[in-house]
Symmetry: C2
Subunit: 241 residues, 2 copies
């Protein structure tokens, strides 16, 4: 009897703590614990249910979309005169895997994640995935408006330095193309070289501004070469103007 | 006096019609007309406001994100046992530009768009953009839940054939990689050829399954060559299994 009581009370203790920890992060008490338990279960620690692996990936899919909507709404409000190009670029920077991972650690979510993976694989994205799964859980538990409150109050306003993000260029290729469109100048990326065996192929890409070479980049993928070429071209342009 | 009365009543008439047309499409009366007027103004028919072009592009940015969230929620509910790979792929198919354009025409939105572009440029995406802008307008006018009702009731349930979409493969490369992951087989895309002058470069790409060549594709871009190689490889696999 005492044993049973101890077991029950320790479970209540645990649940109480879990609720409390979630509340510390989200700002409100969860209604249904199950969503949050699932949100914090990384795929390396999946449960089995009728032959199906149960972990936070489905909630991450849902939360990622809700996050996108809330951030879009926030930026639409925050920058009433900005064009959709700027809004899109700001949103990409906010919801980038690297940034979300960092935010998850800032709000203390990393301590709560249930996982069974070696330490060094964590850094990449699992906390960013977990914060999205948490948003999915809040959405199912309390609805869209609660997600909006959580993301705006606890994440965007407290943890995100918008001004710093504004000045960080996520993609030089994107910035260059946007500049071209705005200034009605033609920007073309041309593969000007490609060599090496298939396992070690290299590319050279040149940016042409109205047909004139403006920057050349090399890289082990076309994307890398493009980005390098665009960075140099963008520098040349912004130095001039 | 009669002239003034005529002017006023004709404006009421016009507004009344506009409200009514919006109601026919969305299922409810708009509260603030201005959002909808903006949503239906294509960039070719921009208004000027303090040197800034005013059209539906900002609302499209917002509505696109809200659409993504509602569709994610809908699919999460609709397919309780599906993995996030399937959910992501279904969402891509639903919100693809081509599909949204088609849906906008099905619900009659194309007749309401204000635009000044030649006829043949319409087909591509402007109606799909407008339906997203309309969702942005509903969001600002009536909130997230109204968007959810509109998208689920008027678009997804009435206009979308989920079963048909399930069977349509959006990207053979994606399908192949998913198959590999599910069956724990290694899929590698290797550039096995690359030739021609820069303005007419061609690529050859081979798909390797656990190191063995399974399909080879050629194309004027790496992406095209990959897709062709993946299509052949996927056919080989699905014929066997």
């Amino acid at each position: 009897m005492i044993k049973w009581f101890k077991k029950i009370s320790s479970r209540f203790q645990k649940d109480g703590n879990f609720f409390f920890e979630i509340e510390k992060i989200t700002g409100f008490r969860p209604r249904s614990e199950a969503y949050y338990e699932l949100a914090l279960r990384h795929s390396s620690a999946s449960r089995e249910n009728r032959g199906r692996k149960v972990n936070n990936q489905r909630l991450e899919f849902l939360g990622d979309a809700v996050l996108g909507a809330v951030v879009a709404d926030f930026l639409y409000d925050q920058y009433p005169a900005a064009g959709e190009g700027f809004l899109t670029s700001m949103r990409s920077k906010i919801v980038s895997r690297k940034h979300m991972n960092q935010l998850a650690i800032q709000i203390g979510l990393h301590k709560m994640l249930v996982k069974k993976t070696p330490r060094n694989t964590h850094a990449k994205s699992i906390y960013g995935d977990a914060i999205e799964a948490l948003i999915g859980a809040i959405y199912l538990d309390r609805g869209y408006d609660a997600c909006k409150t959580f993301i705006e109050e606890r994440v965007l306003r407290q943890q995100v330095d918008l001004e710093r993000l504004e000045n960080r260029i996520a993609s030089h290729k994107g910035a260059l193309l946007e500049w071209g469109q705005k200034n009605k100048r033609q920007i073309v990326f041309e593969v000007t070289g490609c060599w090496g065996e298939s396992h070690a192929r290299k590319y050279e890409i040149t940016v042409l501004l109205d047909g004139e070479a403006l920057g050349t980049g090399k890289g082990t993928s076309k994307k890398r070469a493009e980005e390098e070429a665009a960075r140099l071209a963008y520098q040349t342009i912004t130095d001039k103007t």
